[in-house]
């Protein structure tokens, strides 16, 4: 495919996230996943997936009786596309100061990663 699919809407993004997380899935699978978080109609999801297939956001595999959908683009690609939107980036970026997690919001440098690997390797050597 040479033409880029358009930027997904929020609702479409939710479906794409399901597909990235689960891999190729049927409408039923997608609906079950979304319905476990908030009430939604099977037909809504079906319609949405059909629209997304037309837009080129998802690919439809019609070899099996129940159509299997998969994301047309990898997550990284779509993330980059979304990150191109300055406003979105600034908004999501600003959440960082409030979020807490296993890693700081600062990315480790390549040098640090190399050092980490060295430390771990050395630890393994010593304990062996």
């Amino acid at each position: 495919m040479t033409e880029h699919p358009p930027r997904p809407t929020d609702a479409e993004l939710e479906i794409l996230t399901v597909l990235w997380s689960r891999g190729p899935a049927t409408v039923r699978d997608v609906h079950e996943t979304i319905a476990s978080r908030r009430p939604t109609q099977y037909t809504t999801v079906l319609k949405q997936l059909q629209v997304m297939a037309e837009k080129g956001l998802v690919l439809r595999n019609e070899h099996q009786r129940a159509h299997v959908y998969e994301s047309a683009r990898p997550r990284e690609w779509t993330q980059r596309q979304l990150a191109g939107d300055m406003l979105q980036r600034a908004f999501n970026g600003s959440a960082k100061s409030l979020m807490i997690g296993a890693l700081s919001s600062r990315k480790a440098s390549k040098k640090e990663l190399a050092e980490l690997r060295e430390i771990l390797d050395e630890y393994e050597r010593r304990t062996r």
């Binding site: 999501n92 890693l103 990663l113």
Partner: protein, 733 residues
């Protein structure tokens, strides 16, 4: 006189200005005290508590100073503003009130107040935006994590005794696992991370996030951000805040290790997270400082590098400078505001980072020996070179070294040397890894430098589906990214040399391998594992048969009476253990299938999956036919009817996969299932219509208590009269 000027001249503004100045030295005192505590205390909990207390002291100090300096009547007529001082008994006796020059600090000081207020406004606005953005991240681009992980999370939640419900979501925006919210906390995992990491590591990371929730860190962090916004001008506030952030992570690390044990596994998980981040986004954003490195060293309790003594010294410096300036401003007003002096010392982490980053000079001769010609110098030459004493000798040696290798000694050009440096440049250009390993050090670089460009390169930078050459068994398989280099001839090695490089970690660092099967993601595609397992099953059946056959009939009868008697029972227990072991291995296969499912989306892989599923089914039938059917709730089990008509697989997430045999004639059919316990009571029933999904269908099943059960599945053709009943007996232990 504008409104702003009017306000600036008020007593309140002046009091605020002085409060800001005083908070500088107050803060420096607090920071110094904290630095001393940090110098003594080793426990992360104590250090965290001390830092929090310091932050609180800073805030209280600010409030108290403001309260004492603030005039009791806020609005006084502007006419009397200029020369009056704050009504503070402490400062009343200072000899300043009467003889100020018109251009002094007390004229300038009040202007600090509006600047400060503007800053506070901006910082709190930022905080508000962050809060809204964090709320949005919970809703946009997320999907619920699979049941298996939610259950695991609940289990861990119980172990940490957290009563609040915690939601686990996969987010396409989160780069790293994060916690958002306090009352209804949500853990966001980057999409694909749960499936991509080993279970033990996922568990460790979930524990870390839960530790944050248990310690109410989100709330504390929110408060901390608010205080930061209030004291934004204060270097000490930022330093203390940084200490709180670092110690908070250490506390959580400790909690994880305390709950779970494996510090090493956890350290690996953190490193994997950091690496995962690189593959996710563009490789921009230079970073400095060694936060994570420190944490991992701490986890593995390795000796740390020299401890930084800069913080306390700096703090002392601020104290002296601001104290002196504040005093001077009070006694004999200086024309300069003290703030810039203090601010200029602020970027502390930067200074340390620069200090650490300064590279050590490497002697050009050492570099020549260990880098440039490392792969081509002979051992004898190396020994000779090491013996040389002076640089002149070394220069001569290097010249001779190249001269010996010059293919055309008469000409000024040394083709060998030129080619060698070209190869090094090429290797560094092409093969450098994202983890900063220079290209010449990688396996590909080494081979390239030693043997030159290969005659053929077969590159598979994305891995994926690959058809094995027939001498390796043929058939489709799935591989890591790999490259095959073919040399028609290598001197001293032979003709048609094929070298394989695999990028197992998908980090861009390809390693040379001798085993052509190593590149395959599932070690020797599932068929082989399958075959091994079936073989094991056959052996097991044989063993059982011979055991039974070797017992004489009358003895068998005698034994029959005392079924509890030791030998036979022990033998049965043994074989049951063997079956269980085989079962565990089967679970492993299933696990592989699932990870395969996540990793591969091509049609090819799907057909592999279908093939595999039918193999699994066959295996399940074979196992059931061996006569020993064992089932446990929560675990995989394979069952089959006496006539091998249907196979029922209970997957670990409590779903039952009812597989309808392929020979069932209709294309669309409905299934209704009911399960009876041994006393004839119906424990579970379910039905689905319009099934057309390749002969298999997932049905949610409840936990089954121990006992034996009979499952009846009625399959009906929705378009025609055909129907068939399948009966399966199984037991749950």
């Amino acid at each position: 006189m504008t409104l702003l000027e009017f306000w600036v001249q008020s007593e309140a503004a002046k009091a605020l200005g002085w409060t800001l100045v005083h908070s500088l030295w107050e803060g420096a005192c607090v920071a110094l005290a904290l630095a001393i505590v940090l110098g003594v205390a080793r426990s992360s909990r104590v250090r965290y508590a001390a830092a929090c207390a310091a932050m609180l002291a800073l805030l209280i100090g600010f409030g108290a100073t403001l309260y004492r300096l603030m005039p009791r009547e806020i609005s006084r007529p502007p006419a009397v503003h200029a020369l009056s001082l704050p009504a503070n008994p402490d400062f009343d006796d200072r000899p300043v009130a009467n003889n100020r020059t018109p251009w002094d600090a007390s004229e300038l000081l009040p202007w600090l107040a509006p600047i400060w207020l503007a800053g506070v406004f901006l910082f709190q606005l930022r905080c508000l935006v962050s809060w809204a953005a964090a709320g949005r991240l919970r809703k946009v681009g997320v999907c619920g994590a699979s049941f298996e992980f939610v259950e695991r999370l609940d289990d861990l939640r119980g172990r940490l005794r957290i009563s609040r419900p915690v939601t686990l979501l996969e987010s396409c925006f989160a780069e790293v696992p994060v916690v958002i919210g306090h009352l209804r906390p949500v853990i966001l995992m980057p999409v694909g991370l749960l499936a991509g990491l080993p279970v033990a590591q996922v568990e460790a990371i979930l524990l870390h996030e839960l530790a944050h929730i248990r310690r109410a860190d989100y709330l504390v962090n929110l408060m901390q951000t608010l205080v930061e916004g209030l004291l934004f001008y204060h270097p000490a506030a930022w330093w203390i805040s940084g200490v709180i952030r670092a110690e908070r992570e250490n506390c959580c690390d400790d909690l994880v290790v305390l709950t779970n044990g494996g510090a090493h596994e956890y350290a690996r998980a953190l490193a994997a997270l950091a690496e995962n981040r690189w593959t996710m986004r563009e490789a921009a954003m230079a970073a400095t400082g060694g936060n994570l490195v420190k944490r991992i060293r701490r986890l593995l309790s390795q000796p740390e590098g020299p401890r930084s003594t800069i913080a306390p010294i700096l703090s002392l410096g601020i104290l002296v400078v601001t104290g002196a300036v504040a005093l001077a401003a009070w006694e004999k007003p200086a024309p300069q505001l003290p703030i810039p002096a203090a601010l200029s010392i602020r970027p502390l982490p930067l200074l340390i980072a620069q200090e650490q980053a300064a590279p050590k000079p490497v002697s050009p001769y050492k570099k020549w020996l260990t880098e440039e010609v490392a792969y081509i110098i002979t051992d004898g030459e190396r020994a000779d070179f090491m013996k040389l004493q002076t640089d002149a000798d070394r220069d001569r040696f290097i010249e001779d070294f190249w001269k010996r290798r010059d293919p055309t000694p008469g000409t000024p050009e040394n083709e060998y040397k030129t080619e060698h440096y070209r190869r090094i440049a090429y290797a560094n250009d092409r093969f450098a890894t994202p983890s900063a390993l220079p290209g010449w050090k990688t396996d590909r670089g080494r081979i390239y430098i030693e043997y030159g460009p290969p005659d053929e390169i077969d590159a598979h930078p994305n891995g994926g589906a690959y058809t094995r050459p027939s001498e390796q068994g043929g058939a489709q398989t799935v591989t890591y990214p790999f490259e095959m280099w073919k040399y028609r001839f290598i001197d001293g090695i032979g003709n048609n040399v094929i070298l394989e490089f695999i990028d197992k970690g998908r980090t861009g660092e390809y390693r040379l391998t001798m085993d052509p099967s190593e590149k395959e993601v599932v070690r020797h595609p599932l068929e082989r594992e399958q075959a091994e397992l079936s073989e094991k099953l056959e052996r097991l059946k044989d063993a059982l048969n011979t055991q039974v056959a070797s017992i004489p009939v009358d003895q068998l009868r005698a034994l029959d009476k005392q079924m509890e008697s030791a030998d036979l029972q022990r033998a049965m227990l043994r074989s049951q253990a063997q079956v269980e072991q085989a079962q565990e291995e089967l679970e492993q296969v299933q696990e592989n299938v699932r990870s395969l499912d996540d990793k591969i989306s091509s049609d090819l892989a799907q057909s592999d999956m279908v093939k595999l599923q039918s193999q699994l089914q066959k295996l399940a039938q074979a196992m059931a036919a061996s006569g020993l059917v064992v089932a446990r709730p929560h675990h995989s089990v394979f069952l089959s009817g006496s006539g091998s008509e249907a196979a029922v697989i209970v997957l670990p997430n409590h779903y039952m996969l009812v597989t309808v045999p392929f020979e069932f004639p209709a294309k669309q059919y409905s299934i209704s299932v009911s399960t009876l316990s041994s006393d004839g009571k119906e424990v579970w029933s379910s039905s689905v219509k319009d099934t057309s999904n390749n002969g298999s269908r997932t049905l949610g099943a409840p936990f089954l208590a121990a006992g034996s059960y009979k499952l009846t599945a009625l399959v009906k053709d929705t378009a025609g009269p055909t129907e068939k009943t399948y009966v399966v007996n199984f037991s749950v232990r």
